[in-house]
Amino acid sequence: MFAHEFFRNAFLAGTFIALACGAVGYFLVLRAQVFAGDALSHVAFTGALAAAAAGLDTRIGLFAATVTIALVLAVIGERAGADDVAIGIVFAWILGLGVFFLALFGSGSGGGNGLLGARALFGSIFGLSGSDAVVAVVVAAGIVPAILVIARPLLFASVDRQVAVARGVPVTALGLAFLVLVGATAAEATQAVGALLLLGLLAAPAGAAHRMAANPYLALALSAVLAVVSMWLGLVLSYAIPTLPPSTAVIAIAAAIYLLAFLLTARLPRVLAARAGTRLTADGPTASR
């Protein structure tokens, strides 16, 4: 399996992208902002098309567009919270602009735009070159430490905003910085693995970790680990079954992990509570004596 260069590239890039998505995703779920991640992943599509239409490097277009829109979302969303409706409206407009650039680009180069669109949405992790993989590693290696640096105040600001403000935590600046990091993650992941896989890796492992671990640092680590595990299992599965696209395999694994976490945490507390209840009544007389 590792004898193939395409698989080594996919594995290397996939691991680091999953690590970044898991870390960023945990805070997205904590702040109920997965929609922002979704929107930013589609912004990357528009950015790439705009750069292609203008004849610029698509990677520059990607990063410029996602970071800019991340700032816009933060500003028009209520108090840097990127509120649901604001995201939706900006999102729809950005998609409309994407269609516009698609028409511009399509008329300029004649055909081939469908392929670019499909690639931006669904990605092709098995089609990455060695240099693509190195870029993915470098970007993720920048995002993960940045998240760790702001993790403590960001956690405070996300869990209890008012108290954080009162204690002098710069919540607005943190919200902005965080969305910029989401934008950078989205830009990198979209052009490497596609918007679809990005969203799956942002939402599912983080949702599972959030359910399973109460300690935030543990949950943050668990989220990154689950994302990497989904990526590894998905890549192997897709290698073993050639008709299964890698992004589908990775998302299926991630969704299965989330489902498992949901079932475990939805049932366990009830079972435990029932047991505790019976023990309480059984021990009741002894305790009162």
């Binding site: 929609f35 649901d84 939706g88 729809a92 409309g96 516009f100 949702g207 696209p245 507390p269």
Partner: protein
């Protein structure tokens, strides 16, 4: 579309009557205008509740279920309707269950995570079906971004039926849904079945939006679902007026978008989203000015619309 503007030839003139005549000269434009009106009315009504309930993410996710639905139907040789109704129903129920369980675990973050996972998984399924099918899906891009200009009479009729059914359900559950959306705790205490209503609304949203997206594209439905209702809620907190305004703005946006696309080329989706976005920005700016303390001193500030 460049082809459409070539057909029109003349372009906009100073005379609005002759413009309107040009616009309705071709049957495909009549179909497009009718479809645009029907979609705008449905989206304006359903979207008003969606925006009130802050469920834009769920709305977007459900509209995307048209993609796995269509590819699933293609793969099995079923009718497209069966495919998207199946996927929209399942997705709406999963998000509904997660929303119902939110009070006991994790709150809004979990709902957001579930919605994102459902969307990613649904699209991944669609991608799998597409690669299993191995054939060429003629226009998955038009599924996502829509082409209003190829709509047939039969599709207009389908849209009208979906719209009538959706508006009928809204009329029946509108009052309790409004109560549950504004104050869930009080509504539950008064015996309103808030959980059933929440799931029922998502189901309605999913079925209406997926059925519509199948014909007009995800982007157009989504744009009409969010921007006109959000603009209406910025302008007025009143329910009846807000709903009417939301529908009127939606119809205005889709007509203007279609006319611009007809006369100047470029995709309809671009014009509709741009007009809708501009409208929202203007409403927001106007509201910020009106609410500013230095504006007309002595007047009470405008009541908050919850927007």
């Amino acid at each position: 579309m460049p082809a459409a503007s070539a057909l029109a030839g003349a372009g906009l003139s100073p005379d609005p009557i002759s413009d309107l005549q040009q616009l309705t000269e071709y049957p495909f434009m009549v179909n497009a205008l009718e479809a645009g009106t029907i979609v705008a009315v449905t989206a304006g009504a359903v979207g008003w509740f969606m925006v009130l309930r802050r469920q834009t993410f769920a709305g977007h996710t459900l509209s995307l279920m048209a993609f796995p639905g269509a590819t699933f139907a293609l793969l099995l040789g079923l009718s497209a309707a069966a495919g998207y109704f199946a996927f929209a129903t399942v997705a709406a129920l999963v998000i509904g269950v997660a929303g119902g369980a939110q009070s006991d675990h994790g709150g809004r973050g979990q709902v957001s995570a579930v919605t994102g996972s459902v969307q990613a998984f649904g699209l991944a399924c669609g991608f799998l079906f597409l690669s299993l099918y191995r054939g060429v899906l003629a226009n998955y891009e038009s599924l996502l971004f829509g082409s209003f200009l190829g709509i047939t009479r039969a599709q207009v009729l389908t849209l009208a039926i979906v719209a009538a059914a959706t508006l009928g359900v809204i009329a029946v559950i509108g009052r309790p849904l409004l109560f549950a959306s504004i104050d869930e705790g009080v509504a539950r205490a008064r015996g309103v079945p808030t959980r059933a209503l929440a799931s029922g609304f998502l189901l309605l949203l999913g079925l209406a939006v997926a059925a519509t997206a199948q014909i007009t594209g995800v982007l157009l439905v989504f744009a009409l679902l969010v921007a006109p209702p959000a603009t209406a809620q910025l302008i007025t907190p009143r329910v009846g007026l807000g709903l009417a305004l939301s529908i009127a703005l939606g119809v205005f946006v889709s007509w203007l978008g279609l006319a611009l696309a007809y006369f100047y080329g470029y995709p309809v989706g671009f014009y509709i989203t741009t007009v809708a976005f501009a409208m929202y920005v203007i409403a927001r700016a106007a509201r910020a000015i009106v609410e500013h303390p230095t504006f007309l001193p002595g007047r009470a500030p405008v009541a908050d619309a919850g927007a």
